[in-house]
């Protein structure tokens, strides 16, 4: 596995039975907002256990892509296979099940409920997944180094701590995939390092991780980087 390699379109097209199974597979994935195409015919495969970064300038469509593969949004055209199942045509109810069962989401803006403590924010994901388990939620917070901060409200935590609560919430239900949208975008260097170490640890444990970032230094720490420009995939030379 080459650290920080930027694959070519041709490389992606090759089907290799020796490689791990594809967990995310898109074909002609397109998302339009009126006349604007935020995504324009994206074909790609992300395999089980990969740590993939998605890079590109602002407006290149990387967040739109992440929203679609995390089942938060729908494509306008094309197909999206998750573990071989076409989810692009699923009803919202079924997509909600996928979100809570298989995907852990980490947001740039953290999106913590302001009136719930750190522990309760983690338990909220448990609440919508199955049953609330305080011990499990505490363990998740301990894992991100926030065991002592469980009773604090988001407003009482630093940005880095809030993002770590967000990561604890993302992994509390043991999802197979972590999808992170600019998770270090609002953090200082030290917290960026902590968050990236956490993601690297989760990757080593076998989870598939997709990291949307505009930071090449972070992209270098992933297995491979997919580059978007103007809603299309390009190779490292900017070629379509």
């Amino acid at each position: 596995m080459l650290q920080g390699s930027i694959e070519t379109y041709e490389e992606f097209e090759v089907s290799d039975p020796e490689k791990p199974r594809a967990v995310i597979e898109t074909k002609g994935l397109t998302k339009s907002f009126g006349a604007l195409k935020a995504l324009d015919g994206i074909d790609l495969v992300i395999r089980e256990g990969e740590f993939v970064s998605v890079m590109g300038p602002s407006g290149s469509g990387k967040t739109t892509f992440l929203n679609i593969i995390s089942c938060l949004d729908r494509s306008s055209a094309g197909t999206y296979l998750l573990d071989g199942i076409d989810v692009s045509t699923m009803r919202e109810k079924e997509r909600a099940v996928i979100r809570r069962e298989r995907i852990g989401l980490v947001f740039q803006q953290f999106h913590l409920i302001p009136y719930l403590s750190a522990l309760e924010n983690v338990m909220l994901a448990q609440h919508y997944h199955s049953v609330v388990d305080t011990h499990g939620a505490r363990a998740a917070l301990a894992r991100v180094g926030l065991a002592e901060r469980e009773a604090h409200l988001p407003s009482q935590l630093s940005g880095g701590e809030q993002q770590r609560v967000c990561i604890a919430r993302a992994l509390i239900n043991e999802p197979s995939m972590i999808l992170a949208d600019e998770p270090t975008g609002n953090l200082d260097a030290e917290n960026e390092r902590l968050v990236m170490e956490l993601l690297a640890t989760l990757h080593r444990e076998g989870r598939t991780i997709v990291l949307v970032t505009h930071n090449p230094d972070l992209a270098e720490r992933t297995d491979r980087t997919i580059r978007f420009e103007h809603g299309r995939r390009v190779d490292n030379s900017g070629r379509l």
Partner: protein, 436 residues
Amino acid sequence: MFSRLLTQSFRRDWRRKLLAILTIALATTLMTALASLSIDVGDKMAREMKAYGSNIHVVPKSESIPLVIGGVDYNPLTGRDFLQEADLPKIKDIFWRNNITGLSPFLPVKVAMTRAGDGGDTGSEVQLLGTYFKKPIKVEGSEDFMTGVTTTNAFWRIDGAWPAEGALDEVAVGEGLARNRAIAAGDTLSLAAQDGGAPRKVTVTGIVTAGGAEDGQILAPLALAQDLSGHVGKVASVDVTALTIPENDLSRRARHDPSGLDAEEYDTWYCSAYVSAIVHQIEEALPDASARPIWQVADSEGVVIGKIQLLMLVVALAAFASSAMVISSLLNTAVMERSREIGLMKALGASRAAILALFVGEAVVIGIIGGLIGAAIGAGLAQVIGVTVFGSAIAFPAIVILVVVVGSVLIALAGSILPSRTIAGLAPVETLYGRR
């Protein structure tokens, strides 16, 4: 977790929740007061309406035989048959005795009236109506029962004083007769029976305004009429006021033919305060009497009370609808303000039902708290209305609290229908990224 979310929602957004609770409380206050009044208004209004006249007329059975040809009554017994004054207490001994609120016996006598100072005037023929004015009668097994026209015809007005009960030398004169013959309170009249008995000198104690035929008559104590007519211990008719419930199909069928009812229907009818059932029971108590409801009064009572209850229902529904709209507006604003939170919940995989449960839960809590507050205030308001309008407290059945609280929860739920649709329409990706 659900209760934590619910509690926190109330704690951090208490102003809006308080406003919603007050809205519900206001509506349920009105609903409670109207419900209590609606339940009790039948009795209250019936009592009020009894002031405008009796609703049952009792005559000797012979007079009930119809023999009217061309509008002329050819019944030879009319005016010749009588009821016994001594039987009057029996009317207060029927099954619905407590619903009998007044009775007045009548005995009309034609007399020749001469006003003192009219010189050799032989007198003109006028009708003297003997009755009770305010006479307690003994009823077996209970307190004395106050009878007389001051009870059954409370709308009659007297300028002066009513004649003393049982007095043979005092009368009141109808307003029309007094005006025509220039009679005033304090005048002395000479009354002679038509059979030529010795004339009696009586003093006019007051001038009566009755608004009916009595305005052209002399009103006298029953004893004087009996003395003048020679029918001692007898009365020609009795007017009875009774608290009744509005007629329905059962009572209408019974009115025509009680024997046509089956046993169960008969029991239901007999044990309900329909005017027809009370009339039937009076005839059982007085076998020689025929009791007839005065349908204009009995029917109009039901119609008026029915209309009042309908009006209350309309007002209650208007309160229900308006408060539901306020709740809907408040909840919808809350949903929009919390759209990012809702988007996050959806992103975490919360089902639409789970999010709806949170808002519906809030609505139910608001409904219960608002309903209980409204029920308490409404109960008090009903009492104030009862005392102010009817002069007595309103009965407040406990079931009203349950009905009103359930009603207020329904208001809150009705108000959460539109916000629920808003929640359903929120896409997580739009709310999380502030596009909505």
